[in-house]
Amino acid sequence: MSRSLAGSPARRVGVVLAGALALVLASAPIAADAAGSDLDRVMGALAQRKTGHVSFTEKKFIAMLDRPVESSGELLYDAPDRLEKRTIEPKPEDLVLEGGVVSAQRGKHHYVLDLKQYPQVVPFIESIRATLAGDRASLERVFKVDFTGSFEHWTLGLVPLDSKLARTVAQIHIEGEKDLIHTVEIHEADGDRSLLTIGADVAP
């Protein structure tokens, strides 16, 4: 696959969001210790889960389109670094992340994408993978991680550390309860966003 994202410049939305986030961060130093330990608890709980097989629905809000495009399917996870996104609607497509390489099967076509060659794709994937793996170190390598809430109900705010990556992904919100992830919301730098909602476990 030789396509790459067109590097779109950071728009005002992204700047505003980043600014807002900086405010939030600046105003919450007192909670840092408690949040840190809760974050570790969540990460520890997530790390305990070695496999997962759940359904998902995803809505993408794209500025060019009048209404969001929707897709649904199943997510499969095997610790620590195999993640499969099996889209069923509207078009079957299979996306597998394994050992830093993404391969996709869509219709007759097979694509292989090396994350090293397409660093702009990394935040989309690493946010989910590292969270699922409970791998705080990996998360913090790529993102500025902001934890709010408690072990029972938490939100992770992720902002890419790399300014180049920030030009595609402004921030990511992951919401969950204990060792379960409920939603992953990705705000792209151009204002578009996607909302991934994780549903029930799929019986094996």
């Binding site: 030789s2 009048d66 509207p90 497509e93």
Partner: protein
């Protein structure tokens, strides 16, 4: 000197002069033309073209091992930079996205000419709706983030269509930004040389340039702080046809030089020891040199050019001619007329044997036949008519009578084993009959000087890189570039169908990089005018979440494409598409060929690569390709093996015919079937024993072994004839002297070929390991069988 002697010497001098002129001005070739049959079929010509200058012949596969992954990547990048700047290379790929932006821009700007999906239907309201819906579906998918930016200009997804068309190639995984083997142990690069594969000098330059780039890259990386202590240093591995031919040439040159120095020294020492005369030694070389000169000149005149192969093998055949002077010097004290009649029959026998090679369709063998015949005739004539004139009246050479006496005494003692001779053919027959697997190897690779470990390295790099073997091709040839591109566009869908049926896993086609003008014109013609497109689009988008005013860039681009100049080779310049087209589109000035390499089904393991050629053939054979255009399926390795195999079978048949000719000749000259049998039997026994021995040692026989067998017969017939003469004519001179001359001549042959047997180059060792034991056995069997004939009182000096 007698009058005839003076005339003979003058004629010889004139001959040497004329032959030297011919030899100096002769044309020498080392390319694969020796393997091209004299009247090749179109397929065979294509085959040789492919081997000589095809894309596969120009590829060098490179692996960088050792160090660590990051350092290997830095070396690969540094090598890539250097090699890309080197005009010796047409393309250098190592996984870096070099020139991808330029490629992408060219593809995007010409998407309406390049996309196979572009047709009139595509731009009707229904067609547009389907195409846009497809793109919206893609936006919803995980791949969507890649498609989003293209939407306003390309809502029908032509760019993605083109990428799908082109992107069927599987690439190796990348680590640290460069191609890496699946096991992660080596960085991979592939370069294509400008020089053809058959241009060994050019390939040698390219190989040296790769080595140079590697050393420079290692130095650069180390200077940049890499190369931590205690780690294995980075090493370079290279493979590919060019690399092999460079290495093979170097090995053969080095071995031929070293081995011929060794054997020359051994033979010289032996002859000096025997003759104890430096003068005799030098004189003995005159027939040999004259024979070689005559052989080369005859081939140059008869074939127009002399092939390196002929020279290599031919000069060893001349080894027989050194025997003539040995016989002359040692036996000249005797009645020489008997000597000459025996030598004459020996030469005739060899001529009949080698004559069988002349009609061979394999020019290499035919040249070898002519070379041997002219060389032996010249050497014999010079020994007979010139050498005696140059010899002093009394040639003071050492007395070899004691040697002959000792041999004769030894032969006397060996009586019982004669019956054992009968056992030999039985044993040999048992060995050959019970041998599992074919005795003859019908694959050309059996002659390959490439070592097993190098072949394994090649297979490993090839599978790492996923490089198509280019063993299987569809070749479309026709009168013009446009004609073959157009025909390729007809063949492509047929091959697509074969991909569906999993007969092949994929293929490449130059028409994907550069569609025929006709196809481009048709695509351009199917683009509707601005107003029509807009109204179609409005209808198409009804109910879709996309507003037509968002797609103004699309309307603008289509309008521009309607008047865009068609894509030609010139516009591809500087992109990787140009490399693709140049590799797949060839012209010899009058005819054009489009190459469509086929990929082996992925279900098949690497070492059993094969494609059902019959199905490919029937898939494309019924297509109408246009005037003067044809498509051929080419299985390169299979075709090469078939060609070689046909040469081998033909050579076997011709050799048997030659053997029959020798029998007829002997019957005529000896006027006795019994004597003929006594001459022929030791030769047959020697050949059988050697063959059985080689098979027992696990050797598969090649065409070189066959040539070796011919040599056994050629050299051995002299021994048998001398023994026959002595058996038939008890007064034919001194037995010890005859015996001694035979032993010495035999020792020279065994030494010369025995040394060759130690070569690691298969062609040389095959020849050596056949002739050395064969010649020795021919002498032993001749001696033993002669003793069993009508007995004479052997004048053994007591």
């Amino acid at each position: 000197m007698t009058r005839t002697g003076r005339v003979a010497t003058a004629v010889w001098a004139a001959f040497v002069f004329a032959a030297t002129v011919v030899v100096v001005f002769a044309h020498y070739t080392t390319d694969l033309s020796a393997f091209l049959p004299r009247s090749p079929t179109a397929t065979q010509r294509l085959l040789v073209d492919q081997l000589r200058e095809g894309i596969a012949s120009r590829s060098i596969l490179i692996g960088v091992e050792g160090a660590d992954s990051a350092e290997r990547a830095r070396i690969s990048l540094a090598m890539g930079r250097r090699l890309r700047a080197d005009p010796q290379f047409v393309a250098v790929t190592n996984g870096e996205p070099v020139g991808l932006d330029r490629d992408r821009e060219l593809l995007f700007n010409h998407r309406y000419l390049l996309s196979e999906a572009v047709s009139a239907d595509r731009f009707t309201p229904n067609g547009l709706r389907d195409a846009v819906q497809e793109t919206l579906d893609l936006l919803a998918s995980p791949m969507g983030m890649l498609a989003k930016s293209l939407l306003p200009r390309d809502p029908t997804g032509e760019m993605l269509q083109i990428i799908d068309q082109l992107g069927s190639e599987r690439q190796p995984p990348s680590v640290d930004g460069v191609w890496t083997s699946r096991d992660g142990k080596r960085a991979l690069l592939v370069v294509q040389t400008r020089a053809a594969g058959s241009d060994t000098d050019g390939q040698e330059g390219a190989v040296a340039a790769v080595r140079g780039a590697f050393s420079a890259a290692v130095a650069e990386v180390e200077a940049g702080g890499g190369g931590a202590a205690g780690r294995a240093p980075a090493t370079l591995e290279m493979s590919g046809p060019g690399v092999f031919s460079v290495a093979a040439r170097a090995t053969i040159k080095q071995q031929v030089t070293r081995l011929s120095i060794v054997s020359t020294m051994l033979i010289t020492l032996m002859l000096l020891w025997v003759y104890r005369s430096f003068r005799a030694l030098v004189l003995g070389l005159i027939p040999v040199a004259s024979g070689a000169l005559a052989g080369i000149a005859a081939v140059a005149l008869g074939f127009g050019s002399v092939h390196g192969i002929t020279l290599g093998f031919g000069v060893t055949l001349i080894g027989e001619s050194v025997d003539y002077s040995i016989y002359l010097f040692i036996q000249s004290q005797q009645r020489t007329s008997a000597l000459w009649s025996t030598i004459r029959l020996g030469v005739l026998t060899s001529i009949v044997g080698f004559m069988s090679l002349l009609p061979s369709g394999f020019p290499g063998l035919a040249q070898l036949g002519l070379f041997s015949i002219s060389g032996l005739v010249a050497a014999a004539l010079v020994t007979r008519y010139v050498l005696p004139n140059l010899m002093p009246p009394i040639l003071n050479i050492g007395d070899v009578t004691p040697l002959g006496t000792a041999v004769a005494a030894g032969l006397q003692r060996v009586k019982t084993p004669r019956a054992l001779l009968l056992v030999i053919p039985v044993l040999a027959a048992v060995v050959l009959y019970t041998h599992r697997g074919p005795v003859w190897n019908h694959e050309l690779s059996a002659l390959s000087p490439v070592s097993k470990s190098d072949q394994a390295l090649d297979a490993m790099l090839r599978s790492d890189i996923g490089a198509p073997d280019v063993s299987y091709l569809v070749v479309v040839s026709g009168p013009s570039q446009e004609a073959v591109l157009h025909a390729a566009e007809t063949v492509d869908p047929a091959l697509d169908a074969l991909v569906e049926q999993k007969v092949i896993s994929g293929f490449e086609s130059p028409a994907r990089y550069l569609p025929s003008l006709e196809a481009q014109r048709a695509r351009q013609g199917s683009l509707p005018p601005d107003t029509e497109l807009k109204s179609n689009l409005i209808t198409a988008l009804d109910g879709l979440p996309l507003q037509v005013d968002r797609l103004d860039p699309f309307l603008h681009d289509v309008e521009a494409a309607r008047n865009q100049p068609l894509l030609t080779r010139k516009q591809l310049e500087g992109t990787s598409l140009a490399t693709g087209v140049d590799a797949l589109l060839l012209s010899d000035g009058t005819r054009w060929s489009a190459l469509l390499p086929l990929r082996v089904p992925t279900t098949v393991a690497i070492d059993t690569v094969s494609i059902d050629i019959g199905r490919v053939h029937s898939g494309i054979s019924k297509l109408a390709l246009g005037e003067g255009v044809e498509a051929v399926v080419l299985d390169v390795k299979g075709e090469v093996d078939r060609l070689y195999s046909s040469y081998l079978s033909e050579a076997l048949r011709l050799s048997l015919a030659g053997f029959a000719g020798i029998v007829v000749l002997l019957v005529i000259f000896l006027r006795s079937p019994a004597r003929t049998a006594r001459v022929v039997t030791p030769l047959v026994l020697a050949v059988l024993t050697v063959t059985a021995g080689l098979v027992l040692l696990g050797q598969q026989l090649t065409i070189l072994h066959l040539i070796g067998m011919l040599l056994i017969v050629a050299v051995g017939s002299n021994y048998a004839l001398f023994f026959d003469r002595r058996s038939n004519d008890p007064h034919a001179g001194s037995a010890p002297l005859t015996l001694a001359s035979l032993v010495i001549a035999n020792a020279a042959t065994v030494l010369g070929f025995g040394v060759l047997g130690f070569s690691s180059v298969p062609v040389l060792s095959a020849l050596g390991s056949t002739v050395a034991p064969g010649a020795f056995l021919a002498l032993v069997f001749s001696a033993l069988l002669a003793g069993s004939g009508p007995r004479e009182s052997t004048p053994v000096a007591a």
